[in-house]
């Protein structure tokens, strides 16, 4: 029998270090050795020429594609068109208004994401309510002495961000309401929400956008038909909120029934128990799904090119048709892809940090 309690001991020293890791993971069997070597050769064959092309031989400034060489990337094209890629056809003397929009967006994101900045609650209210309103006023003008700028002139990255931001801000709350409605005990509400969700999820986004831009004006009197950008935006929100509803519903289903019963037994009504207890838990649980939908929405904004709106991708594409910059399509698409990737990757990282925070308790 054990006479004394066993003292806690330190774990045995493991084989650590870079060499041990390489040996243990890359060259531990004959097959792995072979695979490692093949991949290493592939990387060796690909990366140096890529760096050569993208950086060393690249031409950064110039007037036309004639200034570029065949061996390097023609970043001069992106450089020369950068203003248009960002602001579209927004009047150059007014682009400071777009900058205000970008700055507001950056401020809100930093406010919400950097833990050290206090007053997250106010940041959230500002981001969800104040910023969308002020941004719209500043961008479209016609108020406060700002010259109106028609949305026909909007384009590039700003349109992508406008569509994505308003799309996300609207589709999450609408999605939450639809999810609650689909689980409602009231048959009319439940049926309506179910039909709505199934209808919009069953239609391709392109169809929705065509309907919004082409069909709607046919049925609705001309005076009522509003701006094409707003129509596209509404179409996207309707579409994405159906997806969002299903994501949120997944979270709602994962909350134990006891939570609702505890709320009931404390006399909290439906909305109080939903808003204070059930939804905060459900939404936290499905952050990865919500962000996934957001990322999809962000990239789907590029579909508006088919109805003649110029988001980042379509304005890059339009620039490629310029005879002065012939042969620069690779650079243009790489640039557009890179910008999209930066935003989407940022969202993904933010979602991961939220998840980690959730796991702390």
């Amino acid at each position: 029998m054990q006479k004394e309690m066993i003292e806690a001991r330190t774990p045995p020293i493991m084989t650590v270090g870079a060499l041990a890791w390489i040996k243990g993971n890359l060259f531990n069997t004959a097959t792995n050795c072979l695979v490692t070597l093949v991949i290493a050769y592939g990387l060796f064959a690909l990366i140096p020429p890529l760096i050569q092309w993208a950086f060393i031989e690249a031409v950064w400034t110039g007037e036309s594609s004639a200034d570029c060489t065949a061996d390097g990337a023609c970043w001069a094209f992106v450089n020369a068109r950068l203003d248009q890629f960002i602001y579209g056809f927004y009047p150059p003397e007014h682009t400071w208004r777009v900058d205000i929009f970008f700055v507001q967006l950056a401020v809100v994101l930093a406010w919400l994401m950097i833990p050290a900045i206090p007053g997250k609650k106010y940041g959230l209210v500002y981001g969800l309510v104040a910023m969308p309103i002020t941004s719209w006023i500043v961008l479209s003008g016609g108020m406060l002495g700002l010259t109106p700028v028609d949305t026909h002139d909007w384009g590039g990255l700003m349109v992508t961000l406008v569509l994505a931001m308003y799309g996300m801000l609207a589709s999450l709350p609408i999605g939450v309401l639809l999810a609650l409605g689909r689980r409602s005990e009231m048959p009319v509400v439940r049926t309506f929400c179910t039909v709505y969700i199934e209808l919009w999820r069953g239609v391709p986004l392109i169809t929705v956008l065509f309907m919004a831009s082409v069909m709607l004006p046919l049925f609705v009197p001309e005076e009522i038909v509003f701006d094409k950008l707003i129509r596209a935006m509404i179409g996207m929100v309707m579409f994405q909120s159906a997806y969002m509803a299903e994501v949120v519903r997944g979270g709602l289903q994962a909350i134990p029934k006891g939570q609702q019963e505890a709320c009931d037994s404390l006399g909290m009504g439906y909305w109080k128990s939903m808003l204070l207890v059930v939804l905060p838990q459900a939404v936290r649980m499905v952050i990865p799904g919500i962000v996934n939908t957001f990322i999809a929405l962000f990239k789907d904004t590029s579909l508006v090119l088919i109805i003649g709106l110029f988001d980042l991708l379509s304005i890059v594409q339009a620039g490629l048709n310029d005879p002065v910059w012939l042969g620069t399509s690779t650079e243009g698409y790489i640039f557009a892809a890179l910008v999209f990737w930066i935003f989407c990757f940022g969202m993904s990282r933010y979602s991961q940090s939220l998840e980690n925070k959730r796991q702390e308790h």
Partner: protein
């Protein structure tokens, strides 16, 4: 702290259940239940699982709907009217087998959520009350932790404090110690005994017969959806009238 309302008629039962019947589909779970609970009375309900004892107390605060009969709580009749239901729920606290604490809120926030949002108390006031009650269930030092960081016994004590924060007239306990490790049962029972000694009206569904002997004014034995036997604990334990009660007691007291 516990303000037992003296201005109400002390002789009228605080809970009056008469001729209540309930079905789950075709299954008859509660059969002609009659139960009057006086102010300050402590009632312990026991019986085999599936006998309808949890269902009965869940009907009292309308977590379950009954199809026939009347339930009157503190003068308010339980109807399908949401206003009525919410009034009754504010008067009746409930402690669940699985605690059902809100995992995304701290212990203190769990306790102050309903007082602030339902009773519209101001935060400072609500936190003061909550701290006093956490003191009473002997875990004030855990106020800023999350439920997941506490042991089962501690969580159940928080759940009791959370209910008490609404200053209820009646407390319902639905097998409060059944999900606990044996070493934690006592700390929860101690809190319940203290609560009973302070004059709280209590209905407990439990298998803790030691606790029942200590606090119960009246024992109720349920089987097959009906009240088989009821009476003071001395007679109930020492001299049960019905054979089924004897059998049940024999089974749970034999070891």
């Amino acid at each position: 702290m516990l303000n037992i309302n003296n201005n109400k008629d002390a002789l009228a039962p605080v809970i009056d259940v008469s001729q209540v019947n309930k079905w789950y589909g075709q299954f008859h779970v509660l059969k002609d239940i009659n139960l009057k609970v006086m102010r300050g009375e402590k009632i312990v309900i026991c019986g085999p699982s599936g006998s309808g004892k949890s269902t009965l107390i869940r009907c009292i605060n309308a977590l379950e709907e009954h199809q026939q009969g009347d339930i009157v709580v503190d003068g308010t009749e339980l109807t399908r009217d949401l206003k009525n239901i919410e009034t009754i729920r504010r008067e009746v606290g409930m402690v669940f087998q699985q605690f059902n604490l809100f995992p995304h809120l701290t212990v203190l926030e769990n306790c102050t959520l309903a007082p602030i949002w339902v009773k519209k108390e101001n935060r400072v006031e609500a936190e003061k009350t909550a701290m006093a009650l956490l003191e009473r269930v002997k875990i004030p030092e855990q106020a800023d932790k999350y439920p997941g960081q506490l042991s089962g016994g501690q969580q159940q004590r928080v759940a009791i404090a959370r209910s008490l924060c609404m200053n209820p007239e009646v407390m319902l306990f639905d097998e409060p110690t059944s999900a606990l490790d044996p070493e934690m049962i006592k700390e929860v029972l101690d809190v319940m005994i203290e609560l009973a000694n302070e004059g709280m009206t209590m209905i407990c569904v439990t298998h803790e017969m030691g606790f029942a002997r200590t606090v119960a004014d009246r024992m109720i034995f349920m089987d097959d959806g009906q009240i088989i036997e009821e009476g003071p604990p001395e007679t109930f334990f020492n001299n049960p009238a019905s054979e089924r009660t004897q059998q049940f007691l024999g089974q749970i007291l034999s070891h």
